[in-house]
Symmetry: D2
Subunit: 257 residues, 4 copies
Amino acid sequence: MKKTLNIANRQLSSRFFLGTGRYPNPFVQNEAIKASGAEVLTFAIRRVNLDAPMEDAILQHLEVENFTFLPNTSGAKTADEAIRIARLARASGISDWIKVEISANEKTLLPDPIETLKATETLVKEGFVVLPYTSDDPILCKRLEEVGAAAVMPGGAPIGTGLGILNPYNISLIVEESNVPIIVDAGLGNASDVVLAMELGVDGILMNTPVAKAKDPVKMAEAMKGAIEVGRLSYEAGRIPKKKYATASSAYQDLML
Amino acid sequence: MKKTLNIANRQLSSRFFLGTGRYPNPFVQNEAIKASGAEVLTFAIRRVNLDAPMEDAILQHLEVENFTFLPNTSGAKTADEAIRIARLARASGISDWIKVEISANEKTLLPDPIETLKATETLVKEGFVVLPYTSDDPILCKRLEEVGAAAVMPGGAPIGTGLGILNPYNISLIVEESNVPIIVDAGLGNASDVVLAMELGVDGILMNTPVAKAKDPVKMAEAMKGAIEVGRLSYEAGRIPKKKYATASSAYQDLML
Amino acid sequence: MKKTLNIANRQLSSRFFLGTGRYPNPFVQNEAIKASGAEVLTFAIRRVNLDAPMEDAILQHLEVENFTFLPNTSGAKTADEAIRIARLARASGISDWIKVEISANEKTLLPDPIETLKATETLVKEGFVVLPYTSDDPILCKRLEEVGAAAVMPGGAPIGTGLGILNPYNISLIVEESNVPIIVDAGLGNASDVVLAMELGVDGILMNTPVAKAKDPVKMAEAMKGAIEVGRLSYEAGRIPKKKYATASSAYQDLML
Amino acid sequence: MKKTLNIANRQLSSRFFLGTGRYPNPFVQNEAIKASGAEVLTFAIRRVNLDAPMEDAILQHLEVENFTFLPNTSGAKTADEAIRIARLARASGISDWIKVEISANEKTLLPDPIETLKATETLVKEGFVVLPYTSDDPILCKRLEEVGAAAVMPGGAPIGTGLGILNPYNISLIVEESNVPIIVDAGLGNASDVVLAMELGVDGILMNTPVAKAKDPVKMAEAMKGAIEVGRLSYEAGRIPKKKYATASSAYQDLML
């Protein structure tokens, strides 16, 4: 793909944002990251040793200069908690990019719309590059853009469920109305889910569990990398319209040539 | 993909079977064929000049030794008509492979199950390599295998509709019960349809309209080639199970790390 | 509903065909039959004592003059077996209606298209009123009509799965092309499946497991009776078209009044 | 149905909330209202003459004592506007029930989550019985309950689209987590959509366009009334589980009896 994705003036040649948790072991994690081609890596701040972040098990195996780090605020139940985590991350030198992820629901980990909007607004004012994880509510996604989100990240389904894109219509609406990149984050399971998301016009995919918990995570990372590229290509190539019948008497002749 | 597809003792490194009709012009057709990586090409016998087939507009631009030709019997309304077309094709030296395609319904071009089974049985006995286009009826697909089909080709949806795989459950059953390759033929529209088919475990894809009538057929040929590869890779990598909730109290901790 | 369903010159005021197997006990079975309002009852011939059919546990509790019996040939793996069962049923005086049900696949019990067509053709010639259970292959359904089926009964999904209508598109095509009543038979689970089938324009529903194995079979029989009536009413009332957006600037005013 | 729906200590024997806009004429509107059995009627405040509400064309034909009026704030783009409309409605003596409906998006009329929460909170404090129209975001629905909504009304799809329940999973989650009645409001098209909603466990349905714009609005009102009752009955009766195959060797015998 020639066209790159631009977020906060950073040019990304990969549209794949990869989570770093839940892999069977650090070796597989590292190989999967390489196979994915991802340039943006996300991880929970809590997991990282903030005093010496570069000694973290994840980060020390990577040539860190090749990656953009997108720490997330998972575990935060309120805007205040998320804001505090973001400030710690920046203070420790990891990144001024932050994925706002706020949930008070331990069963579904679905994001809180009110707290997410509040934290996004505050962190944007403090100079962060903010990418909020949100529900697929089209109006909320627009509000997040309006308060300055660098990209908006609606979920396809709840985290880790693998249910795919439960509401393609909403994702399509969000894309139509948006002026910032839309990254589908959470809930995907399969490569066909990824391709469908890209064909709906989204700009990128954030994924963790479907790669980390696949039977072969490295091969799945490769598949998902390909799926993002194929989906984008298909989107650009312009699909045929759906029809109830392909044929009328004339089209029948056409088919027969 | 290392694993190749074996049909009638021919090793195919591509799982993409491409139709040659309906392209805007011969140049685009040729470029799309190249971009697709397809090794098997299908076309209606009626279109080809049977006296001098290699002078046919389609075929003369290709290095024919690189391809397996799969002429089809489209236009046939009965087993007898299909058998006659198959014999003509073989007599003219094009191929002893034949795609049985029989329909008496001009609106949908859906295949006739009875005539298709009859023609398949006869042509197998005459030494043809027979690949019948059929509905997604799992029992019929099994019957076609039992009478000697080299591969069975259920449709995802009616020809040219772009509706995708209307009944993934049936395709999945067909794969489970089959001992010959299953090629999804007809009805697909998008790259995500292709990836889904491959993730259901089918062995290959036959496609024409979604490539030939895309806004950019050459780019779409490339997308579909990638989709088949990505779908196979994803199938082999082993997806995560779908769950209603990803998290229980312990899994919550896991996610939080 | 005022309009009645006419099959083989019998006027049915109910569009519900009910199976009599798998109920927890004869009392519940009997109450469910009453609650369903069904006028046509189906059962496997093997279960009935053919020497004295009216002493059968099922039948003796019913005022048999109120019902049309539709014995089925389940258990038959070939046309010949089905034909033999049908003749036994007629000879014993149960009915000259017969539901042709032929499957050689014990896992799915999906009907064999070839044997089903053969048995239907033969039994029609012998004067039976034949209602074949078939896949949702639209061409096969048309062939069954052409050999004289009094009604055609495509499955929504395999027997007993409760998966609903896996391919509404096919059911819709079958209805469009048909000149005999279409009864959806097998695979439904819920009342919404039934309403959807009726909204697609089918003429009736045959059901057993979803009623017999519900937590409360009698209440479910009542629900399904209502679902068939509601679905028919909705079909007749003419639904609004689906739109991507309901509103344009003028329609917005309309909504606001 | 014996169980009634209780909202703000009012016992409703119908679970159908009907909108009064967009009918072809007042006569059809009146007949449809009667056929629906609805006890709660909703309408835009702007349409009603607030100085003499009982002279309004809609209301004067009805025996008003039989209905609960649920005026809505449609047209409001902010919480402040909605609050103002609600106060006017109460001051004019129509009702102290209010459907909060706030949208700044004229294309989709999707509700604004932030403003909706704000208006709900304020109006509850002022003693209104508040029923907010909201997206199907499960966390937002819970927040609306927490600030005192008497019932929560997630949309199945955007108003007037007839697309049905785009995300049944979310509706199911909302029901699971809720302690107040859940009323599906907006986007439904067909009776099967209504039955499905009820089978997911929702407590009621609010609908306008699918009735008012049906080919036969009065018949459709009757169908939708039935659909709500049938869906509730089916929900209570307890459906069979979905299975990939209904049969194992033993179950096969069972089916055969």
